[in-house]
Amino acid sequence: MAMEMRLPVARKPLSESVGRDTKKHLVVPGDTITTDTGFMRGHGTYMGEEKLIASVAGSVERVNKLICVKALKTRYNGEVGDIVVGRITERRRSAEDELAMRGFLQEGDLISAEVQAVFSDGAVSLHTRSLKYGKLGQGVLVQVSPSLVKRQKTHFHDLPCGASVILGSNGFIWIYPTPEHKEEDAGGFTANLEPVALADREVISRLRNCIISLVTQRMMLYDTSILYCYEASLPHQIKDLLKPEIMEEVVMETRQRLLEQEG
């Protein structure tokens, strides 16, 4: 059995370990971004007293004449076409609903769906366009901040290490064993409750710990970063990945590989 107790260590500020050359322009609500009135206002800003002021805490992004502030940590804002993973918390109680839906979906079930429309108060309406979406079976859910999930063409990934992952834009990441037959997808309405093999479980647990390490070091999550992190973590035992120094080492290696790949 393993038990490890230690004294806490103060966290190092990230910029020291990363060594970024370009400093990001960080602002907090109320900070003046610029006094130049020639810019167009984007999200996260407002005009007051002849200058552009930030309304959220984040980094300033400038595209030609448009200035906006991208929040570092925020509630999920739905956009049409996003893939999300969600848990059913409440349901409409009507007679037809009881008879029809309760056989398929219960409170507490996880589903994957696509955003169909966004209402003015921020609520989103979801639809499951094909059998690719729908109820999720056995697997592990990891909840992260939505701003760390990179926007990509597809959010369903079958990783070569042996498991599959759905990166929900709302920050809910679902890791599950890759189904053997290509016809069975993650969705549909019947869940497969047979025991998952030990080898698959190890891959899933390792991926889960890798995702948590990436999130603690505030790295963007997408299929390549997760895969590189998985490969960097192979020399360590799965449960050792929960220790801070091993987390840092693995993410450092991942960052190196990603930089080499881009450069």
């Binding site: 059995m1 393993a2 038990m3 490890e4 107790m5 230690r6 004294l7 806490p8 260590v9 103060a10 966290r11 848990r87 918390t89 219960q106 409170e107 507490g108 079930d109 996880l110 999720l136 079976g137 056995q138 697997g139 592990v140 859910l141 869940a191 497969n192 409750l193 025991p195 998952v196 030990l198 479980r201 190890e202 647990s205 390792r206 889960r208 710990n209 035992q237 799965i238 449960k239 990945l241 929960l242 220790k243 801070p244």
Partner: protein, 291 residues
């Protein structure tokens, strides 16, 4: 207790994983998550400690005050426990939601300390039947991430280790009236011996096996748990079963043996961390809450 909603498939996955000794985060059934302990974090207490175990965060403060001993035990001081489940920990604790859990934890703490050898209460006596030290132990739940009892006990033990009670002398003058004199030196204190202070090990029964240090998701899959309070030598001071499910006597025996084994390792780790912290001396860098 705070709970998370899980789908049937997720529960099945967790239960099958436990049977194969591979939990969701890669731990075995008898592995603890990584623990951080720091003492002396609250300046206006006699002793304090903060313990972080995964997502569970507990702060304990001990204040020593003078009072009158209880009538049935005139030669001893005593401990009073109070547990505050703050709404910070989880939305379920909003308003009076956390009171039930707080009372349950406080009652458990009273039970495990309710024996002669846990804390030397005679050392807390100043003059029999008149004055004694009362230690008010206040526990604050900052964040709830599963396995509350274990973390609270570790924090209470660390805080008692850190407690410094001022040394007092009783002076008697000719008329017989007593005067209590506090020592001038602020560092002249008595320390409590925490050798025999027990720690709780919570064993949750999931499927056919039991796990130590369950996360919130694992607690949602377990119908019954056993709380075993163990001292550093492996002596069981108290045992309690929680949960709606039933446990058969063989399971209880197995879980108790696991609890004793795990408890001894827990005590050894805690002792070594506390001694290491003390050896760093008063000049050590305190991380506190802004680290």
């Amino acid at each position: 207790m705070a709970s998370v909603a899980l789908s049937e498939a997720e529960k099945v996955y967790i239960v099958h994983g436990v049977q194969e000794d591979l939990r969701v985060d890669g731990r075995g059934c008898e592995d603890y998550r990584y623990v951080e302990v720091e003492t002396d974090v609250v300046s206006n207490t006699s002793g304090s400690a903060r313990v972080k175990l995964g997502h569970t965060d507990i702060l304990v403060g001990v204040k020593a005050e003078m009072g009158t001993p209880k009538l049935e035990k005139p030669n001893e001081g005593y401990l009073e426990f109070f547990v505050d489940c703050s709404a910070n920990a989880t939305p379920e604790f909003e308003g009076r939601g956390g009171d039930d859990l707080g009372t349950e934890i406080a009652n458990t703490l009273y039970r495990i300390f309710n024996n002669k050898s846990s804390v030397d209460l005679k050392s807390l006596c100043i003059s029999p039947r008149e004055h004694c030290w009362i230690l008010y132990v206040d526990v604050l739940l900052l964040e709830c991430g599963g396995n509350l009892f274990d973390t609270i006990c570790i924090a209470v033990k660390a805080a008692l280790f850190n407690t410094r009670i001022p040394r007092v002398r009783v002076l008697e003058d000719e008329e017989g009236s007593k005067d209590i004199e506090l020592s001038d030196d602020p560092y002249d204190c008595i320390r409590l011996s925490v050798e025999n202070v027990p720690c709780i090990v919570t064993l949750c029964k999931i499927g056919y096996r039991h796990v130590v240090d369950a996360t919130l998701q694992e607690e949602a899959c377990s119908l019954a748990s056993l709380l075993v309070s163990v001292t550093s030598t492996g002596v069981v001071t108290c045992m309690r079963k929680v949960g709606k499910g039933s446990l058969d006597p063989e399971s209880i025996f197995e879980m108790m043996e696991t609890g004793k084994r795990v408890g001894k390792v827990l005590h050894a780790s805690l002792q070594s961390v506390l001694h290491k912290e003390e050896s760093l001396g008063p000049k050590r860098q305190k991380v506190g809450f802004l680290g």
